[in-house]
Symmetry: C2
Subunit: 325 residues, 2 copies
């Protein structure tokens, strides 16, 4: 049974968990508790990198989902955006809409949020708590050396296309979510994705363009291609597959999950051919696979292991899939 | 009749209205359209000031409200937070959850949002568009000279308490909203509040503490008192009242709206007595009224025109007013 809580109690609870002011980071002048946070900009020739992402109940997650997983994921999807820019995270803000001020739910949510926040040395410096249908918007701010960020627009014909980690696990878990027996490794990938923050920064000077795989490999790679004015060819045989996924799916079903499934939060990036050895070394810890080539001709060709063109059923998640009239 | 729109269409529509990259501000390296925005930090010894605020349908506004008013207000409440810190706004992010991708609604929303954004030379550099119950979270980032920000914690016994503009208009309009005949001046104050951005910056070096009046004068002043470890005495006779409000309310009803009504977005601030003349000059354009004194004794006393203590029915808006079990 939840107790009555007011907004200021919620904020106090969040602030107590997050730590405030100088306790959080040396560059936090003033954290949670005033009209705005005050932050020291990064020293040296650095740019700020800023991103916001929202998760809504019934759209991005179910009301029954573990609040700790939601707390983790709400931050993870934002850190993933900074990772794709090769930026170093510094601060975040949490805007939380809750149908009721439930301290048990909030503590669970903060368990997951704080675990990931702490792992990245990020300070929670502000936000909002309001009444409304469950919705979580996180804003992350980081920094990157001037001119060092990885944009979507830098891919050039002849370059390699790479992806970190493995693809398709989260999509498989999403399909399985209504049923019992989903392998724990797959479920973990969906619920607690690992933002590739260190990998992103390691790609400075090596990669030419990058994006995180949130909507699906083909959809997200498509953004790089459009922004760069190029095309690409992807080989299904090269797509990295976890042992857990390999054990439960093969062929078209697996390819579909690997190409069209979102929520993996791996990095897809392009790089000149002469960077192959350096990339393998820099990303040895997380794992990295070469999956195709950038081409001058527009369009995205997918080649199956027999060398034939392959057409996915769906290229990825679109946020407003329904036609409304 | 709305047309089908996908997330990327919505983002394109927003980006087209907002302008991107260097077109927006010289310090925007990369705006809407990548995984994160890239921004040049302010030059010189300046700190960043950052704040997020959410407006939810059914809580902060009605589904029937004019989308242009919502667009204005969603940004205004955030700019008001920067104003209360004496910060200069620079950039913002817009996270928009919509039940359906309705371009007519979006264009209306952007009419109001863009009008206020343009007036303050702010760049819209990112955000998110997702499906969900109508919810708007704006994050604003600005800067303020190192050590020049106005915090809640700086009030000292013996200082004056001031407020900009007039109080109670928005509260009166809120009560009236279900009925016809609300004077246009009052309705305008509720729907299109003016964030006191220039006034806030003008108070650098003059005020000792500041907050914006979003939840009600007494509730918000209370935050200053708690943060500063002081008390205060307020004189009802000194509360600034617009001609429109004076024409429709007097006595207890008016005081209640002026003391307990939120949504005015005026600045309440404290300042040493020897700054009176300078404050009157600096804030002549917006108008400013001396409404009380900071006291060493804790607590907030309200004095009516006859010199008697006055007890409001409610001290202001609390975001989670219901008890939930």
């Amino acid at each position: 049974m939840a107790q009555a809580m007011h907004e200021f109690d919620l904020i106090a609870r969040i602030a107590a968990r997050a730590g405030t002011g100088a306790a959080a980071r040396a560059d936090v002048v003033l954290g949670i508790g005033d009209d705005a946070a005050l932050l020291r900009p990064p020293a040296g020739e650095r740019w700020l990198a800023v991103s916001s992402d929202t998760l809504n109940v019934g759209v991005h997650f179910s009301v029954d989902d573990d609040p700790a997983d939601l707390g983790w994921k709400a931050l993870a999807v934002n850190l993933s955006d900074l990772a794709a820019m090769a930026a170093e995270p510094a601060w975040c803000l949490l805007a939380l809409s809750l149908p009721s001020p439930d301290p048990v739910w909030l503590d669970g949510f903060l368990d997951g949020f704080e675990a990931l926040r702490g792992a990245h040395g990020l300070a929670l410096v502000g936000g909002d708590t309001t009444r409304g249908p469950l919705s979580i918007t996180v804003t992350v701010i980081g920094s990157v050396g001037a001119g060092q960020a990885l944009r979507r627009s830098g891919a050039r014909a002849g370059e390699d296309i790479w992806v970190t980690g493995t693809l398709g696990d989260a999509a498989a878990a999403l399909v399985w979510s209504a049923e019992a027996g989903c392998p724990a490794e797959l479920r973990q990938r969906l619920r607690r994705p690992t933002p590739r923050v260190e990998a992103g920064q390691a790609l400075q000077g090596l990669a030419s363009a990058a994006i995180d795989v949130s909507d699906g490999l083909l959809a997200d790679l498509g953004h790089i291609l459009v922004a760069s004015g190029v095309g690409a060819e992807i080989e299904l045989a090269g797509l990295p597959c976890s042992p857990a996924l390999a054990a439960v799916a093969e062929g078209r079903q697996r390819w579909q999950w690997q190409c069209g499934g979102g929520d993996d939060y791996e990095l897809c990036f392009t790089a000149p051919v002469d960077q192959r050895a350096a990339i393998m070394t820099a990303l040895a810890a997380v794992g990295v696979s070469r999956i195709g080539r950038v081409r001058a001709e527009p369009g995205l060709r997918v080649i199956d292991p027999a060398g034939r063109p392959w057409q996915p059923q769906s290229i990825g998640y679109r946020h407003f899939a329904e036609v409304c009239e």
